[in-house]
């Protein structure tokens, strides 16, 4: 009896949660196709005569969205490549128990997980380095993640030491061993880190907001921010509309289309990286 009740409760709970996730997404998708006046007066409708692609045309034909996309790709790719490379490299000596100074360096790294200078001192440093309005201000400061290094280090330790000893006998130094033997064995963990870092950079906006001033250098999230949060659609998107009311309605509709278009790349990649979810969590959950 108790089992049955539990079963019912658990299924209902999961079903409700899934519905709660899908409904808002579905609403945005459907609403993005509906004529703005109809949407405001009647809400969603399945009367396809009222459907329109206006919003999509306007968003797609606007340059800033594409500039944002391009910049987001540049920021995210640069960040991912640098960050994963630096992290994987650093984890190698840190994984070796015979590495002298390991405890010292470990302390240096771990301290930064709990204590830091904070926003203003970091900003002043970036400014002193002349990196304001530069890609590097967004990409470099967070490029080394201690947490990811610990995960990679744990992963290395699961690879038998004999491999390195055998390679050393064959005359392979650390560099050769690392690139020729260790890295090919680390594809799963590299895939996971690439996924985390890429998505993390793609979705963030704070660093770009404070360091990047020039419009054409803005990553997608900042372009989205002005449309979605600040209610300031790119001027070209609505400038030709005369009435203020119609302009406001259109601006609202543009938000829906903007959300959909900006989400397409990640949706397209979703099935591809989904297979790394669980393996990612498994490597992540091993404590260093």
């Amino acid at each position: 009896m108790a089992d049955k009740v539990f079963k019912v409760i658990s299924r209902v709970f999961l079903a409700l949660f899934v519905i709660a996730i899908i409904i808002p997404m579905l609403y945005i998708v459907v609403a993005s196709f509906i004529d703005p006046v109809t949407l405001q007066n009647q809400g969603l409708t399945l009367d396809f005569k009222k459907w329109t692609l206006t919003a999509y045309q306007r968003v797609i034909s606007n340059n800033m969205i594409w500039v944002g996309f391009l910049n987001a790709v540049i920021y995210s790719v640069l960040f991912t490549v640098i960050s994963v490379a630096v992290t994987m490299l650093c984890a190698y000596p840190m994984s070796r128990r015979d590495f002298r100074g390991r405890g010292f360096f470990n302390a240096i790294f771990v301290i930064t997980m709990f204590f830091g200078g904070g926003l203003i001192p970091t900003y002043l440093l970036i400014s002193d380095l002349g990196l304001i309005d530069s890609v590097w201000a967004v990409v470099l400061p967070g490029a080394f993640s201690v947490w990811n290094m610990i995960i990679a280090r744990t992963y290395y330790r699961s690879i038998p030491n004999e491999l390195r000893e055998a390679a050393a006998v064959d005359g392979a130094g650390d560099v050769i061993y690392f690139f020729k033997i260790l890295m090919p064995l680390c594809k799963p963990i590299i895939a996971v880190l690439v996924l985390w870092q890429f998505v993390g950079m793609w979705n963030s906006y704070f660093d770009a907001m404070i360091y990047i001033n020039t419009d054409i250098k803005q990553p997608l999230q900042l372009v989205l921010r002005s449309i979605l949060i600040q209610n300031q659609p790119e001027p070209g998107m609505i400038a030709d509309i005369q009435s203020t009311a119609a302009r406001a309605q259109l601006a609202e509709l543009l938000k829906y289309a903007t959300i959909i278009i900006s989400s397409l790349p990640l949706i397209a990649m979703y099935p591809f990286f989904q297979k790394y979810f669980e393996s990612g969590v498994m490597v992540g959950s091993i404590k260093g």
Binding site: F13, I108, L119, Y205
Partner: protein, 303 residues
């Protein structure tokens, strides 16, 4: 003699293994020292009236002036309380969901259905903060679907009382599924034999949960709780800022957004740094304290 020999062997070691320090450790060390440790030195400006033109060396020292300034300010106290409420409520409401989801998911026998449910549960995690907050603003707008559903016209985003529920519920919507991944993984690795044995012994579902499922995730729950509780003062800037409106500031202004506005928008560098330092130190103390408490409860094992 011995010290000399040790130094000699260290030099030999360094000569043999210089690559480990330069090629492997080097980049990470440079980034850490430059972008983490140099700003730690910059904390000194919290005790100055920092003037960017004069620099740290030339600026006037004022001791604890800025700390007294914000500690005696009623505004600051409200932001502190806002921060604490947001994260404590967020933790209390948000923490159980991933665990419940994982336990329920684990009850689904069909692999296909389980996989489909997981696919949907994980999806919101990949929605960016900006898009999430944009969706929230659309759905909750005066003419939006939520108001349409209840035939009301409440402007949710302008009412301070709604800020925390919006923040926390949207957080659960976005994060609960993803946070359940590791519990799900741990549960599916829980001993199948034990479950089978419990079932054969006639254990009902509650007994199974207690004997099989709970032990499989208990450590993880403890660790997650410590990490979350320790991070109570580090509520993220991005989401709070994207959900702020001029009208809901009374509950939506938190320390992170205050530090940003004071420091970067108003240019009050020293004051802002002092507030940030205060926040970091409280956070550190919390983390240590929670770890100690959990260690005592958990037979001496913290993290």
């Amino acid at each position: 003699m011995e010290a000399k020999a040790r130094r000699g062997s260290l030099l030999l070691y360094l000569r043999q293994h210089w690559q480990l320090y330069v090629i492997f450790l080097g980049p990470a060390l440079v980034i850490t020292l430059l972008f983490k440790y140099v700003p730690m030195g910059g904390i000194l400006i919290a005790f100055q009236n920092f003037n960017p033109i004069k620099g740290i060396v030339g600026s006037q020292w004022v001791g604890g002036y800025h700390f007294r300034r914000f500690l005696s300010s009623p505004d600051f106290m409200r932001y502190l309380v806002n921060t604490l409420k947001l994260s404590v409520y967020g933790l209390l409401w948000g923490f159980p969901f991933p665990i419940i989801l994982a336990i329920f998911l684990n009850q689904i026998k069909s692999k296909g259905i389980k996989k489909k449910v997981q696919t949907i549960l994980y999806m919101p995690n990949f929605v960016s903060v900006i898009v999430l907050c944009g969706m929230v603003r659309i759905l909750l707008s005066v003419t939006g679907p939520v108001n349409g559903l209840f035939h009301s016209s409440i402007n949710f985003m302008t009412i301070p009382e709604f800020f925390r529920p919006i923040y926390i519920i949207s957080g659960i919507w976005q994060g609960a599924g993803w946070s359940s991944v590791m519990y799900t993984a741990a549960l599916s690795n829980a001993s199948k034999d034990l479950r089978e044995a419990a079932r054969l012994d006639g254990a009902n579902i509650w007994q199974q949960l207690r004997v099989v499922d709970w032990p499989a995730i208990k450590d993880m729950v403890v660790i997650q709780f410590i990490l979350s509780a320790g991070g109570i003062m580090s509520v993220g800037f991005e989401k709070a800022y994207a959900l702020q409106t001029d009208m809901n500031m009374k509950s939506s202004e938190i320390i992170a957004t205050y530090v940003y506005k004071k420091g970067l928008l108003d240019g009050d560098y020293s004051f802002s740094t002092a507030v940030g330092l205060f926040n970091t130190v409280i956070n550190l103390i919390l983390l240590i304290a929670v770890n100690k408490i959990v260690a005592r409860m958990n037979d001496g094992n913290g993290i």
